[in-house]
Symmetry: C2
Subunit: 239 residues, 2 copies
């Protein structure tokens, strides 16, 4: 039987793992917000900071991975603890991808730094990023508090981001069709919007991981998915 | 000490893990090829098959994950075996994403089923998919044969896919600028090309995992990256 000392050290390692996830989540959230600010305000110096800061997120993921492998090797975790450790590993993977997608938005802000983008187009994107940040914060809270209710709310609300994406997608294509000179920067905004939609999907993944961690079973429903842009051909609205 | 019987059973489990990776890789490769055929030939019924077959890839990933967790819990692997098991887990994650990106190409083929796309545009995409499939096959062989040489070749050659993507990106935007009626279907081809570029990145991830599995250290060089489309604003060529 493990003695009290071993148990305490083990619990400290599990707590460190969660601390690192919280830290990685906080950094990811912060960096995504700044990436969007760089895009909104055409701020190349902020974009550079975001691109550099993404390395910290990557480093945290590597630390989490190394800790997980060490814990498995040394502690030989079973049942709940193993599920906890594997959940942390997977969440770190999703956070790393969210970080990359945020970094890509920062890069695109560099490309369109000298362009004038209509306020209306940017509003749609702003709503998307606000929802994405809100969802990310909630899913990290759901993990921290092991709340399946909050995880389910995040999981269900992803379709709102999908609907916003459909609408931004249509606005951008309409704008491109109105004047070919808009195509260059609108393509960057299109990929930026797609990144935000993907960030929503990774957040939904995390919600599913939290649910499974607490309940030991998958969410018993089909995933809500309202992004219809892949399967429909956009034609310009009749004027 | 484990007896011979235990060791044999353990080796059989490791072999099963690799068999499942090979199977998942084969399916992923096959489905990506068919997704592109559906796009090239505007074949909605093939696209439907691809979308359905992606579920098999997802199921294999879940089986691999479950096997990994069971092996860790029951066998308490150390050192090389633990590295082997964790490599399989990560490769399965990358293959699942490649499957999703292929499925998305099939969905886009449904959206543009009734469109006439110029042969030249499709040629660029075809070269991309041929390279992506070739790289995927090689990296699976590199894993099967634990070949760092082959893994390094795959890792270096990804920049060729990036360069093709840059060129396809420019062709598509030029075509969109020439006639706004091309914007709808070109947007689908643009996302399709981006998916192929991402598939190249996931293949490169797998090459890094294989290298680390065999050598126990990361590849000692910066990752080649030639996709410049995120950071540049495309303007139409002077006519």
């Amino acid at each position: 039987m493990p003695n009290d000392h071993t148990v305490t050290a083990y619990n400290e390692e599990l707590a460190l793992l969660d601390k690192r996830i919280a830290q990685m989540g906080g950094l990811t959230e912060h960096n995504l917000g700044r990436a969007f600010d760089a895009l909104m305000n055409r701020d190349p110096s902020l974009a550079d900071q975001v691109i550099k800061a993404d390395k910290e997120i990557d480093t945290l993921q590597i630390q989490i991975e190394e800790q997980v492998i060490q814990m498995i090797a040394r502690r030989q975790p079973m049942a709940d603890d193993l599920r906890h450790i594997m959940a942390a590993l997977k969440i770190a993977g999703d956070l790393e991808r969210i970080g990359d997608l945020g970094k890509n938005i920062a890069k695109r802000s560099l490309a369109i730094a000298n362009e004038q983008c209509p306020r209306k187009l940017m509003f749609g994107l702003q709503h998307m990023v606000e929802s994405a940040l809100h969802q990310l914060k909630d899913v990290l809270d759901a993990y921290g508090g092991r709340s399946t209710d909050l995880a389910l709310t995040v999981w269900r609300d992803d379709e709102q981001i999908d609907e916003m994406y459909n609408s931004v997608f249509r606005e951008l294509l309409t704008y491109m069709m109105e004047d070919p000179r808009n195509i260059g920067f609108c393509t960057h905004l299109l990929f930026g919007a797609k990144n935000l939609e993907r960030i929503g999907d990774h957040t939904t993944n995390i919600a599913e991981i939290v649910y499974f961690l607490v309940k030991g079973e998958e969410i018993a429903a089909d995933r809500p998915k309202r992004d219809t842009t892949s399967t429909t051909l956009f034609t310009p609205p009749a004027s």
